[in-house]
Amino acid sequence: MTEVVDAAESGHEHVDTAAPADVSARLHRLERQLAQIQRLAQFGSWEWDIANDVVTSSDELYRICGVAPGELGPTYEAILGLVHPDDHDMVDDAVHRAIADRASFALDHRLVRPDGEVRWLHSRGNVIADGHGESQRLYGVAIDVTERSRSEQFLREFIGNASHALGTPAAVIMQAAHVLADDTLGTKDHDAAMGALLRQSKRLHDLSTNLFDLVALDKGAPSVMLGLSMMLGPVALADRVRKAAAAIPPADGATPTIDITIDIAADIAVLAEPIELERVFVNLLDNAQTHGGPNVSVTASRLADEVIVDVRDDGAGVPDDHLQDLFAPFAKRQTAGQGPGLGLAIVHQLMVAFGGAVSYHRAKPHGSVFTPRFSVD
């Protein structure tokens, strides 16, 4: 049998000489491919026979909607019922305007799965008119853009937080400049204002460096990071922790000085990069000084294929409502005058880059334990 595919539909002339069984097999294969593509691209397709009010949806669309195929009535109202109540009218208007104008529509909206989960969809549709120019069918696709929306939201929040974090020391620096411009200021007051200027300049500098590094780390390229090549190899742990303890910024009047005890066997080595390994502990010890203290201990235990380190302090511990985003950039750790930080976010990213991880738990009876876990080879 010879089948001629309409040239207007296929875009080019094509003659198929396959046997009916082959055609059926090929059709089946194409259907399967389409379903696989939809699954991969996370888009579903649908078609609405307007006069008979029958909606045909692809399996992927059902999956995006969180319902089993056939579980939902095949009518327009049934599908529309899944749209988020706040977006319902917007979607309904767009669809009816497209039908009236015999045009297409495209919009982002939310839908609510039967289990209550909210997903973001990008929906596009187009009208097919009959021979008299009347709208007959509406077909379209819906793409699940929830992850993209989330990362866009994360980015917006990150930029907002970064602006605030950079803006605060910048404002103090300007304030210090105004005070220093006063030529009647006594020597003692002048030095005090200069001290504030230097502290806040350093804070601004450290913050912008950390921001840069965090963005570099977030690209997830462990070999080329931080503007330097990060070669991972075995590093003697105790040496680096001792260097870090010596390098933490001196406690100023606002933060109590901490007493650090290091108990790590000299022959323990972990897979890391020496300078960045030191940075992990500088950040953890600085964090202990600022939020925990006064007694801090660093201990390590060696297991078969990993080294587990405990950085423990006997301070107040992290409040429950700060636990969720503890390792996120600019997580809320509300200590007066400290501002939101990047230290723990960088610790997390570095530990991931080393092929390890970091976790937190509360010490008994009180205090914090940060636990970096390292690979050993």
């Binding site: 605060t168 103090v172 300007m174 210090a176 504030a196 606002a254 509300q334 005058g337």
Partner: protein, 117 residues
């Protein structure tokens, strides 16, 4: 000697405000959080209130503590007419945007203290 309460979470900003006012005959109280401010609130003759505090919003604190006999000057790094209006509605007598010059601060504080007496 009038007592000025500086409510500001940045330690260096508190220092710089004190230095800006160092030629004036004032004594200072300092609070880094809303909770600390609440304790000192009634002892001040004038209050410099940062609108963004670690534990509360400055305007919320103002509404919570109710009217003060001391004039309150709102201080914020984010200046908008809207925020200024809200501060005045909440009971502030004036509004300063960070950073301000030493003389701006001196004149504002002086003006409101002499209006009181």
């Amino acid at each position: 000697m009038p007592t000025i309460l500086i409510v500001e979470d940045e330690e260096d900003l508190r220092l710089l405000m004190r230095l800006s006012l160092s030629h004036e005959p004032y004594t200072f109280l300092e609070a880094a959080t809303g909770a600390e401010a609440a304790e000192l609130w009634s002892r001040a003759d004038l209050i410099l209130l940062d609108l963004r505090l670690p534990d509360t919003d400055g305007l919320d604190l103002l509404r919570e503590l109710g009217p003060s006999k001391a004039p309150i000057i709102a201080v914020s790094a984010y200046s908008t007419d809207q925020l200024g209006r809200e501060a005045m509605e909440a009971g502030c007598v004036d509004y300063l945007t960070k950073p301000f010059t030493a003389s701006e601060l001196v004149e504002t504080v002086r003006g409101h203290l002499s209006a009181e007496s």
